[in-house]
């Protein structure tokens, strides 16, 4: 086995893949922010849960809620919010309508659930903190708008419960760090790997010194 040729071929393959991968990456790229808003009519005995789950990214979430009578939130809890919402059925808080999206380029699961429960149970959510082993906090309004700002690390979820007849919300999520090497560095490394690979595998012939 020609070890040099094998090593050179491997290096050239890796370098080429790195170069093409970086080119594709520069075209597609990642997302660094997201914002969505909406207005939901809830009626009686219902609440809206707005969930964000930073599955692989980290960033800052800002949730603004208006027209709500009360707003509670659970922050820095690990796990998928869809499972957490399901876990609430143990307290007769049942999800009637859920809509979640997973944005791979943002590393974020986000969405809303409408839940139905006795209004007494919903209003007493913070008292369930000990039973649920989550710290459920109550938000206070500023000029009628509830603002929740949380720094989220990878694997953490934020669940915001909004109670009211018609609730309006605006959610923003900004990624704090993408941890990427600049494209120019990756291009330079991949070209260097290709060149070294070609040089290693090239059949260098020893020339005899002229007599």
């Amino acid at each position: 086995m020609d070890k040099k040729r094998l090593l050179g071929g491997l290096m050239a393959s890796i370098g080429l893949a790195l170069l093409i991968g970086a080119l594709i990456g520069s075209i597609i790229g990642v997302k660094t922010s997201l914002s969505f808003s909406g207005e939901d009519y809830l009626g009686n005995n219902k609440a809206l849960i707005i969930s964000l789950y930073s599955s692989t990214s980290e960033g800052t979430a800002v949730v603004e809620i208006s027209n709500a009578s009360q707003v509670f939130y659970i922050s820095n809890v690990t796990g998928d919010p869809r499972s957490l919402v399901k876990a609430l059925t143990a307290f007769n808080i049942n999800a009637t309508q859920s809509e979640y999206k997973y944005d791979m380029r943002l590393g974020l699961v986000y969405g809303t659930s409408k839940v139905e429960a006795n209004s007494m149970v919903l209003s007493a959510l913070p008292s369930l903190s000990k039973v649920l082993k989550f710290n459920i906090k109550e938000a206070s309004p500023e000029n009628g708008v509830f603002i929740i700002r949380e720094n989220m690390t990878s694997g953490e979820a934020l669940l915001v419960f909004a109670l009211g007849q018609t609730v309006s919300y605006n959610v923003e999520y900004n990624v704090s760090n993408t941890y990427r090497l600049p494209y120019s560095y990756v291009y330079a490394i991949s070209v260097a790997v290709i060149v070294v690979g070609i040089l290693v595998s090239a059949p260098w012939k020893k020339t005899n010194p002229s007599p």
Binding site: L18, G21, A22, V30, S55, R105, Y179
Partner: protein, 249 residues
């Protein structure tokens, strides 16, 4: 002298296992996909990066180990090349170890390390934060690949036919993973023994859970860490012992 003969045999067998151009093509494809994945998805922990990059790579590695590594052993037996190998003036134990390294260890290291390295270049600033966790995740995937490879070459030694080896190896791979999926689906909670067994069947899941969970009840038990490495050791030893003591070509 004996060492030189052993390295000569290793070099000879490796030239069959990792012969180009298939190896180049395979390395190119898995590296390209890993780099693209690293670029189009945001990662903020080294564990989630390694998990997302290496899970698809592990499938490709298992296929390579079954179709090139294990089937290659069957081909050596059916083509009577194994008889030539066994006639080398080195012990059968050395030949068995050489075949294990050439057919399982080297391809596994190559196919797991290269995409990990490429993704590590792209996300260099992230890797520099926790290089030990990234390496640990890589090692855990390597152990899982070695487990599949060890079982596959054991199958090859018993089946002695290229086609049967390929089919039985792939059947084992899919059955093993589907059993793990069924166990996790029917388990009552994430702390039940059935769920823990399902997780422990994938060594990288055990390592991932131990590195990422901050809930004491979800931390893996000692037996979960030992399951796959012990199965790997047992199947590798079974291959080496059968080939060195009982094997008749």
């Amino acid at each position: 002298m004996s060492l030189r003969r052993i390295s000569g045999l290793l070099s000879l067998d490796l030239s069959d296992t990792i012969r180009p151009p298939l190896l180049y093509f395979m390395v190119f494809v898995i590296t390209l996909l890993s780099v693209v994945l690293a670029y189009v998805q945001l990662f903020s922990t080294t564990e989630s990066l390694a998990m997302n990059i290496l899970r698809p790579t592990l499938l490709a590695t298992a296929l390579f180990l079954a179709l090139r590594g294990a089937s290659g052993i069957s081909q050596l037996i059916s083509n009577r090349v194994m008889e030539v190998y066994l006639s080398y003036p080195v012990s059968r134990l050395s030949i068995a170890i050489v075949l294990y390294i050439s057919r399982v260890v080297v391809p596994s290291i190559l196919l797991i390390t290269i995409p990990l390295l490429a993704a590590g270049i792209v996300l260099g600033p992230l890797i520099m934060q926790e290089p030990s966790n990234y390496i640990l995740m890589g090692v855990s995937f390597l152990v899982q690949a070695l487990f599949y490879g060890s079982v596959f070459i054991l199958i090859a030694l018993i089946a002695k036919s290229t086609g049967t080896t390929s089919i039985l190896s792939l059947l084992f791979y899919f059955s093993y993973n589907i059993i793990a999926l069924i166990l996790s689906s029917v388990s009552s909670s994430v702390t039940s023994t059935m769920f823990r067994l399902a997780q422990a069947m994938s060594f990288y899941m055990t390592v991932y859970n131990s590195l990422t969970t901050n809930i004491e009840a979800l931390r893996p038990y000692l037996w979960e860490y030992l399951l796959v490495p012990l199965l790997t050791l047992l199947s590798a030893l079974a291959f080496i012992l059968i080939l060195s003591r009982r094997f008749e070509p």
